[in-house]
Amino acid sequence: MPNFMEQALDYAQSNAPVWLQPTVSEGRQLWEKQALPTRKTEAWKYTGVHNLRQPYAVGESTAVALKDLSLSLPDLDAHRVVFINGHYRAELSSDELPQGVELVRFAQATAEQSAEIAKYLGTIVSKHDHVFASLNDASLTDGVFLSVAPGIVVDKPIQLVWITASQTAAFTTTQRLLVLAGANSSATVIEHFAGVRGEQAAFTNGMTELLVQAGATLEHYRLHLEEGAAMHVGGVHARLLANATLNSFHLALGSVLKRIDVVVDFQGAGAHCELNGVYLPRGEEHIDYHTCLEHAVPHCTSSETFRGIVGDSASAVFNGRIHIHRDAQKTRAELSNKNLLTSTRAEVNTKPELEIYADDVLCAHGATVAQLDETALHYLRTRGVSKAEAEVMLNFGFINEVVDGVRLDTLRAYLRPLLALRFSRDPQLARHLA
C-alpha cells in the first residue's frame, strides 16, 4: 500500500487514546495489506483516486476563529459540536445536551465509556469490503460517540460540524461518528461538512456508523458542502433492528473528489429506510454516491430517491444497489435516480442494481439521464420569464421535490437559498426561489 498516508498513520499510532490503539494498529495492518482501488475495481470504475496520491500533513489544531473562516454556520436551533481540521473546538460547540443523550469524544472517554464504544465501533461497517474504512480505523485519534437512551425523544437536532480550513500544505483529517439510537428513541442528527476554499487539498476520510435499535427513529442528514480542492472519501453505514426507521438525507456540492458509500443493513423485521439525496457537481468536479440496501430479513421497506444535476465538465456516479436476501420475503423496495445534464461535456454514470433472492417481494427501480426540458423552458418564457431565470428555476425544480422532503424546517430554510444560488452566480436570477 502506498505510503502517502504515512504521516497521519504515524500520528495516530502515537496519539490515539490507549483503548483505541488496538483498533488503530489493526486498521493499519489491514490498510497496508489492501490495494488501493483502480479503474479495474468494479465499484471504482468511474472514480479515480489518483488525486489522493500526495503526501499529507496532519490536520493542525489551528487557532483560527470561525469568523475568520469566511464561513457562517447556519443557526439550526441545534445542539452543536464543531471540529476544525479534525480538532474539537469547545468555544464553537454547545456544552449542554438534552436529557438522555450522551455525547462522548473518543479522546476523552472514561474506561466505562470506552468499553461501551468499543462494543459497537467497527461492527457496522465492513472493513474488508471498504478499504477506506480500514484507513479510517488506522487514522483515529478522536471521534464522536452519540448515544440516545431508550425511549428518549430528543426535541432539538444534534449538529456535528466538520470544517476544513486551509493549511500551508495538503493535509488530511479523519471523521468518525458512532450513533447508538436506543430502542424506541427518536432523534435528529445532522452531519455537516464544510470547507474554506483554499489552494491546498484537504482530504477528509469520513466514516459514520448508525445503529438504530428496535422501534427507534433516526432522522439523519449528511451535508457535504466542501468545495474547491477538498476531497472526501467515506461513508455512512447503518444497521436497523426490528421496526426501526432511518430517514437519511444526503447532499453533496462538488469538489475535486467526493466518494460517499451509504450502506443500510436491515437486520430486524418491520424496519424502514427512506434514503434521499442530491448531488450537484459543476466545473471539473466529481461526485460518486454508491448506495447499498441490504434487505436481509422479511417485512422491511425502503424508498430511495437521488437526483443529480451535472454541469460544465463535471462528472457524477450513482450506483444504487438493492440486495434482497433469500429470507427477506415481503420486502418492498423502490429506487429512483434522475439526472440532469446541463452541458454537453457533463457526464453521469448511473446504475441501479437489483439482486433478488426472495420470491415474494415488490421492487421497482429506474434511472434517467436527461437535459433541460425545452418545452418547459419555452412555457416559462412565454410568461415573460427570461431564459436565464427560467433555467435557474427549472434546475432548482429538478431537485426541489427531494429538498422539499427535508423534514427539518430550519434546515430546509437554510438549504433552499443556498441551492438556488448554486445554479446562478447572479442572485437576481434566484430571487423567486429563496
Binding site: 419555452h378 412565454t382 432548482f396 421535490e401
Partner: protein, 249 residues
C-alpha cells in the same frame, strides 16, 4: 394592433401556414375556426416564438414592432399571451413561484416596482377565485397532476394576472364541461377591454355562445379562406367545413 401578412411557416420541414393574412384591431375579439390540421395551433405557436416553428415568409407586426425577430420572452413583455392547448407540467416549480416570477418580470418591463408578497398573494387569491381554482393549486407544481380543465383554468388565471394586450386562446374550450366553459368565458369577458384583443382558436361554435366575437375566420390549408361575423360560426356549425374546403379547392 396585430398585423399578419402572407405568413408561411413550417414545422419539421412540413409547410403548415401558407400565406395567412389577418389584422386584429385593439379591443377586438377574433375567432379562428377550422378543421384539424389546418394550422390553427401553429399560428399561436408562431406568435409565441416556439422553437421548431420556422417562419419561411411573411411578416408579423404587433404594436408597430416586428415580432418575428424577438425572443419569446420579449414578445410576452410586449403583451402577447398564448393560452396553451396543452399546458406544460413542470414538477418542482411551484405555481406560486412561477406566477410571482412572471408577474414581477412583466411589471419590471412596464417600469413598475415588484409587488410585495402580501399584495401579490391578494392578487393571486382573487385570480384563483375568478377561475374557480382552490388556493391549494398555488402551492402545487406548475400544472402538475392538474386535470385538463384545471390546466385550462390555470392558463386563464395567468392571463388575468399578466394582463396582456393580445391573448391567443388555443382551444381553451376543448375538453371542458359546460360549467368550466362558462368560467372560462366569464374570465375572458371580464378581461375584454378597449386596449386588449383576443384570438380565440376553437373547434366549436359553443364557446362563441358565451364569448361574442367581432369576427370569425375559417382557417383551412394554412390560409384564412373565409371571414365574417358571428353568423359564420353558426353556418359552420350547420354545414361543417367540407363545403368550404371544396370551394377553396
Amino acid at each position: 394592433m396585430l398585423k399578419i401578412e402572407n405568413l408561411h411557416a413550417s414545422v419539421e420541414g412540413k409547410d403548415i401556414l401558407k400565406g395567412l393574412t389577418l389584422t386584429v384591431g385593439a379591443g377586438e375579439v377574433h375567432a379562428i375556426m377550422g378543421p384539424n390540421g389546418s394550422g390553427k395551433s401553429t399560428l399561436g405557436h408562431v406568435l409565441a416564438g416556439r422553437p421548431g416553428y420556422t417562419v419561411t415568409a411573411g411578416t408579423v407586426e404587433f404594436l408597430g414592432q416586428n415580432v418575428l425577430e424577438m425572443e419569446t420572452e420579449e414578445r410576452a413583455h410586449l403583451g402577447i399571451f398564448l393560452a396553451f392547448q396543452y399546458p406544460v407540467e413542470i414538477p418542482g416549480v411551484s405555481n406560486m413561484e412561477f406566477l410571482k416570477a412572471s408577474v414581477d418580470t412583466m411589471r419590471e418591463q412596464r417600469g413598475l416596482t415588484p409587488l410585495d408578497a402580501v399584495s401579490f398573494m391578494k392578487q393571486a387569491r382573487e385570480a384563483c377565485a375568478a377561475v374557480d381554482l382552490e388556493l391549494d393549486f398555488l402551492k402545487r407544481g406548475v400544472n402538475e397532476g392538474f386535470s385538463g380543465g384545471e390546466k385550462k383554468r390555470n392558463e386563464l388565471m395567468q392571463m388575468m394576472l399578466l394582463e396582456p394586450r393580445l391573448a391567443v386562446m388555443d382551444e381553451t374550450d376543448s375538453g371542458l364541461d359546460i360549467d368550466a366553459l362558462q368560467v372560462v368565458a366569464q374570465g375572458v369577458n371580464t378581461m375584454r377591454a378597449a386596449d386588449r384583443s383576443f384570438i380565440l382558436v376553437t373547434h366549436y361554435q359553443r364557446l362563441l355562445e358565451y364569448i361574442e366575437p367581432d369576427f370569425v375566420h375559417v382557417l383551412a390549408g394554412g390560409r384564412i379562406v373565409r371571414s365574417g361575423d358571428k353568423t359564420l360560426a353558426l353556418e359552420l356549425e350547420e354545414k361543417g367545413y367540407a363545403w368550404l374546403e371544396d370551394e377553396v379547392a
